[in-house]
């Protein structure tokens, strides 16, 4: 049985710190290079968010999250072990800078767990107060036809076949017959039952496709049973439909849609103009930028210009220029990545505490030496 003191001493070893810092350097380099082939999000999850990942398909290698936890434990153990020896007031700066480093780890933990990533995709002239999840899907319905809708939605993560979606509507119940995270939709082929399900786009059949690691490339689809007081109907909903499926239930018009989970933004953003510049003689974009207007809930508007390395920051939200595309009618669309980080102030606090601690330690050391000399 290892004694607590021995364990603490082992954990506080500087060797662990050096090895971990070296491995973090390797991971940062490796992950950055791998982003080119694997894509940003896959590389992030594989190299930095994981405890372990497989290199060359079979060699388990420690991931960024594990290394950060080890470093955190190492730093705490070092603080407990060494701080007790540094009781003199002249070490206060050193202690403060270490506390600052611990705040860094706490902020990394908070950021990892509370940060929400989503995106906004708009054509010029379009605007929204919602951002879309990259990977999660929801079934949503509304009855309003105007520009403002009251939407009821349910996230389909972990949904089981046969499960009833707990909308608690007096007009209908919806149960899940099939849910595919990535699906291909067909308008021509009938399902094995021979019964054509209802769908606003004429889709009659869904077939599973391999789930892509790059989550934004998946398009979900589902077959649902809608039960009303009068009848039971099969309805197909597909994530790439640009129109909702309309159903008349008890004389009321309902619109149903399977779409990426929506998150409310504290403002409405409208894309006024989008500009893209290409490298001469190529179709490779040299730069692209969005000119947008924010409408605030309390009234008032704010013009903004978002481009590479110039994101829009609004409270806990940061909007980055992510990509663009052009539709078949030549309209330009801008995609803005939305990051909500309620703990974004913590790294600044950590940075300040480390700086203040080091400055204090430097000044005290200089002052203490001079005092000692006199």
């Amino acid at each position: 049985m290892i004694k607590p003191d021995t364990l603490l001493k082992l954990c506080s070893s500087v060797r662990i710190t050096v090895i971990c810092l070296f491995w973090l350097f390797v991971l940062t380099f490796w992950g950055t290079v791998a982003q080119v082939q694997q894509g940003l999000y896959v590389a992030q999850e594989r190299f930095f968010y994981s405890f372990f990942f497989l290199a060359a398909k079979w060699i388990p290698v420690p991931g960024g999250q594990l290394i950060l936890w080890i470093l955190f434990i190492n730093l705490v153990a070092a603080a407990i072990t060494h701080f007790s020896k540094l009781r003199h007031w002249r070490y206060i700066g050193l202690k403060l800078s270490h506390i600052g480093l611990l705040i860094y780890f706490v902020s990394a933990f908070v950021t990892f767990h509370v940060t929400e990533e989503s995106y906004v995709h708009m054509a010029e002239g379009e605007g929204t107060n919602l951002s879309s999840s990259y990977e999660k899907w929801e079934i949503a319905y509304w009855t309003d036809k105007g520009d403002t809708r009251k939407v009821t939605a349910y996230t389909l993560s972990g949904i089981k076949i046969g499960e009833t979606i707990p909308f608690n509507s007096p007009d209908f119940t919806i149960s899940v017959d099939q849910f595919l995270l990535n699906a291909a939709a067909f308008t021509k082929t009938l399902p094995a039952s021979g019964v054509r399900p209802l769908n606003g786009s004429g889709i009659s059949l869904l077939q599973p496709k391999e789930v892509q690691k790059e989550r934004e490339k998946n398009v979900a689809g589902g077959l649902f049973t809608f039960k009303t007081a009068k009848k039971t109907e099969s309805v197909v909903l597909y994530g790439a439909e640009s129109v909702p499926t309309r159903l008349m239930i008890n004389g009321k018009e309902y619109f149903f849609s399977l779409r990426r989970v929506k998150k409310e933004l504290p403002f409405t953003i409208r894309l006024d103009d989008f500009k893209v510049k290409f490298h001469p003689g190529t179709q490779t974009a040299a730069s692209y930028e969005s000119f947008a207007t924010l409408t605030l809930p309390k009234g008032g508007e704010r013009k903004t210009h978002i481009y590479m390395n110039n994101p829009l920051t609004f409270n806990a939200y940061t909007l980055f220029q992510a990509s663009y595309d052009v539709d078949s009618q030549g309209r330009e669309y801008s995609t803005l990545a939305v990051v909500k980080n309620t703990g974004r102030i913590l790294p600044y606090i950590a940075c300040f505490v480390v700086f203040f601690g080091l400055a204090l330690h430097f000044l005290i050391s200089a002052f203490y030496k001079r005092l000692s000399k006199t």
């Binding site: 934004e216 008349m248 009618q329």
Partner: protein, 213 residues
């Protein structure tokens, strides 16, 4: 210390739980898109005015460029093919009476704005109005046929929605829909009921002749 640990555990449990629940939110839609250039918004565009934006981050496929090289067809006897436009892969007219029919082949990416929405709009073009139930019945009863290369086609005969005693000069539509790769291809003929009856076989032969390379 104990209370700190309890708080930490509560924080961790709350932070890690992700149970879905019914959510209610307000969606504000701003749609002040500028008008399309006149060439694209011409009457021959079967999708003019539709919101074609997808919810994905990938570019919406501009199907014409991709499909144009992939599709071939045989022009029916007595018909003449004219060059396509931005939206059309091809246009056809009758040699004996160039204004009698307006037939086009159009392809659009993905679900092409939705079948119901397209059919509703075409119904509007011939000034017909039907209920949602009738529209679904119309879609469900659509005739299906196979092209000579084995592609499945849905055929929408709008004359079936018009009364039997409707004047022969009344405009109507014959439309076919097929999927090639991830693009939806529409073949649509606008003509009077009388000419449609006369040219139905030619239209179907055009549809059957469509091949994907």
């Amino acid at each position: 210390m104990q209370s700190f640990l309890v708080l930490l555990i509560v924080f961790l449990i709350n932070g890690c739980s992700d149970k879905p629940a019914v959510r209610h939110y307000t969606e504000i839609i701003v749609d002040e898109k500028p008008a399309l250039p006149p060439m694209v918004q011409a009457a021959d565009d079967p999708h003019a005015g539709l919101n074609m934006s997808g919810a994905m981050t990938q570019p919406m496929p501009t199907a014409n460029a991709h499909i144009k090289d992939k599709l071939t067809w045989t022009t029916p006897q007595g018909w003449e093919q004219s060059a396509g436009t931005t939206m059309r892969l091809a246009s056809f007219k009758l040699i004996k009476d160039p204004t009698a029919i307006d037939c086009s082949i159009v392809s659009l990416g993905g679900m092409a704005g939705g079948l119901e929405a397209n059919l509703q709009r075409w119904l509007g073009q011939i000034k017909l109005s039907i209920s949602d139930e009738q529209l679904r019945e119309f879609i469900a009863n659509a005739k299906t046929l196979k092209t000579t290369s084995g592609l499945d086609v849905q055929l929408f005969d709008f004359t079936t929605l018009q009364k039997a005693n409707t004047d022969g000069a009344t405009p109507t539509i014959l439309a076919a829909m097929l999927t090639v790769d991830e693009a939806t291809v529409f073949i649509k003929m606008n003509a009077s009921i009388a000419v449609t009856k006369e040219q139905r076989n030619a239209f179907e032969s055009l549809v059957r002749s469509v091949r994907a390379k």
